[in-house]
Symmetry: C2
Amino acid sequence: MSKVSNGYGGEKQQLNDGRDSRGETAKLGTDRFVNNPILTPADVKPFREDFEVIGTFNAGVAMYDGETILLSRVAERPKVTDATIVRIPFYDHEAARLAIHNFDTRQSEFDFSDPRGISSKSGKHTAYLTSLSYLRIARSRDGIHFTVDEKAFMFPENEYEAFGLEDPRITQIGDEYYITYTSVSSLGVGVGLAMTTDFKRVQRLGLIFPPENKDVVIFPEVIEGKYYALHRPSVSGLGNPEIWVASSTDLVHWGGHRHLMGIRPDSWDSVRLGAGAVPIKTEDGWLEIYHGSDEEGRYTLGAVLLDLKDPTKIIARSDRPILEPEADYEVNGFYKNVVFSCGLIAEGDRLRIYYGVADTAMAGVELDLQDVMDSLNLQRV
Amino acid sequence: MSKVSNGYGGEKQQLNDGRDSRGETAKLGTDRFVNNPILTPADVKPFREDFEVIGTFNAGVAMYDGETILLSRVAERPKVTDATIVRIPFYDHEAARLAIHNFDTRQSEFDFSDPRGISSKSGKHTAYLTSLSYLRIARSRDGIHFTVDEKAFMFPENEYEAFGLEDPRITQIGDEYYITYTSVSSLGVGVGLAMTTDFKRVQRLGLIFPPENKDVVIFPEVIEGKYYALHRPSVSGLGNPEIWVASSTDLVHWGGHRHLMGIRPDSWDSVRLGAGAVPIKTEDGWLEIYHGSDEEGRYTLGAVLLDLKDPTKIIARSDRPILEPEADYEVNGFYKNVVFSCGLIAEGDRLRIYYGVADTAMAGVELDLQDVMDSLNLQRV
C-alpha cells in the first residue's frame, strides 16, 4: 500500500495487527498520532483562577497562514470547594458578565445524577449545564504539536450563549472563514454563525438555525448557485436525531430543508447521527465524515458520499465505521467511548482527521482517502 | 360603547353578564357568533367512503374575491369496524397513494392510551397519528355561513406530509396568498410553505422551518427591507415551547432567529405558546393574537403588540386572555378546553376572529380592536 509523503509518517501508532488495511480483516482508523491525545485539559490555562478546565475537545479545523488551527471547545467549571454545593457557571446577559448559580444538593428540587447537567426532578427537562464551554484556538506548524492561545477566541457574549459555545466547524470560502457553533442557553440549543479572516477578530452573524439543532457544517463552495449545509434537528416527538440538508443564498438565511439520512437499526449508528467534518470535494462526490451513536451511547465515525451537483442526494454510505473508540483516551474520560470529529485537513490522498475523545481531549488520525472511499462500497460504472 | 357597522351585529351570542366590556369586571371575547360552531365534522363529506371526518378546525383565513375563505384542517380516520384493531392512515410516498397500517391492540408493543397518536411502550416517542389531516376550503359570502369545497385543497403528496398537513395560516402579500402549515411525518414535524393566487391551484415551496417547529405566521408586508415570521420551536432539552421571530429576504430562506416571548409561571400561558393569527398592522404596532396553554392543557388566546419597524421588539403583552374556552363547543370535544386561532379578518375597528374549538370544529367571535388594545395596558406617552 503506497503512502503519500505528508510529513506525518514518522509519528503514527498502530492499534491493529499491522496487516494491509485493505485486506479482509483490515480496520480503518489505525494511523492514530503517536502523541495522542494531542491536546488535553492540562495544556489549557483556565480563563479564571477559581475555574478548572475539564475538557478541550470537538475542535473545528482550518489551515491559516501556514498553520493548522484547532478551534477547540474548552469546558470549564468553578473549582469544587464544597462537595455539597454544585456551582453552575453562566453568562449573565443583563449584567454582561459571568455569574455562578450555587445549588445545595441536600436541599434541592434538582437531579444531579448526570455529570453534564442538572435537571428538574419533576420532569426530565435539562435546566443547567455543569460546565461552561467557549472556543479557544490552538495553533501548530506541523499539525501535530499545538500551542494554546492565551485567551478565548469566542466567549459567551449574548443571551443565546449564556450556557456556552460548543462544537465549532470552520468552512473556508475564499479568504473568509465561517464558523458554525452550537449556541446553548436556557432559551434552547441553536446554531450560531460567525466569520473571521485572521483568527484574531471575529464577527457574529446571528443564529442561523433555531432550537433544537446542532452539528451544522457548511459546504465550502457554492453548488449550482446555492450554499448548502448539513444540520441535525433534535426532535422529541415524531422523528429521530438525524442529518438534514438545507440551502442558502447568503449563508445567513436557510431554507429548502430536506431529510438526508437516518439511523440504522442494529448498527453503530442506530440512535443518533450528526454531521462531523466540513465536507471535502472528491472526484466521486462530496465526502462527509459523520458521527453516529448506538444504544450504549458509543460515538463512532462513518462516511457518506453526496452528489457533487446536488448534495441532497446520497451516492453511497459506509456500512462499517471508519473510526471507533478503542484507544484508552477514547474509551475513558468525562463521557466514555466517544470519537467525534468537527474537522479535517485533506492533503492529496491523505486525510488528517482531528477528533474529540471522550468529551475530554483532542486526538488525530491519518487515513488514506482511498481507504475511506473503499469503505463506501462505491459501485463504479 | 360604540360599535362599528359590519353586517354581523345581528348574530352574536353573549356569554357574559352584559356589562360594558371595558368595565372592571368585563371579559373580552363575548361576541361569539350565534351560529357557533360555524363548521363541524358533519358539514364535511369524507374524502373516501370508508373514512370518517373527526375534525374540521384550526383554519387559516383570507379574503378572496369577496368571500371569506376558511382553509380548514380536516382530520379523518378509517371507520372503526373492529374495536381491537387501530387503523392508522398515512400517505405512502413511494407508492404515491394513501395507505393504512393495521395495529392489533391485543398484540402490540405500542401504547394506545392517547386518542391523538400511538407511541412505543418503551419510550414515550410518538410513532403514528390516529388521524390524517389535510387542508380543505370553506367559503362564505357573509363570513358566518360557510360551504365546504367538494375536494381537498392540499392533500399529503410528499414524504414530509405523510402523516398530514395541519394548522395553516394565510398571509396575503399583494395578489399572492402564502400558506404556512405544519408538515407531519415520521421524519418529524416541520413547517411547509405554499402559494396560491386563486384558491384553486397551489404551489408548494418546500419546508421553510425544519423539525421540530410549528405555528408559523408570516407578516403581511416587508418591514425595513425584510420579511418577518413568528415561529415556535418545540424543544426537548433546554428551553420551552415559546415564540421566536425570524427574518427572510425571499420568504423561502429564514435566519436571524431571535427569541421573542416566553411562558409565564402561574398564568394561563404557563406551559406553551404559539403564534396564532397573522399579525395585523395598527397605529401602535403589529398586533398578534397568540395561544397559550397551562398545566391542565387548556388553550387560551392572548394578545401581544410588536414594534412596527422592528417586530423582534415587544411593546406590550396582555396579562389576561382575550378569549378562553367557555362555551360548550369549546370545552367539550376531541381535545377538551381549546380555543386556537389561525386567522382573523380586520374590518375597521372590529376583529372577526375565527378559531378552532376542542380540535373538533370552527367558531367565530367578534372583538373591538380597542378592547384588545386596552387589554395590553399600553402606556401612551
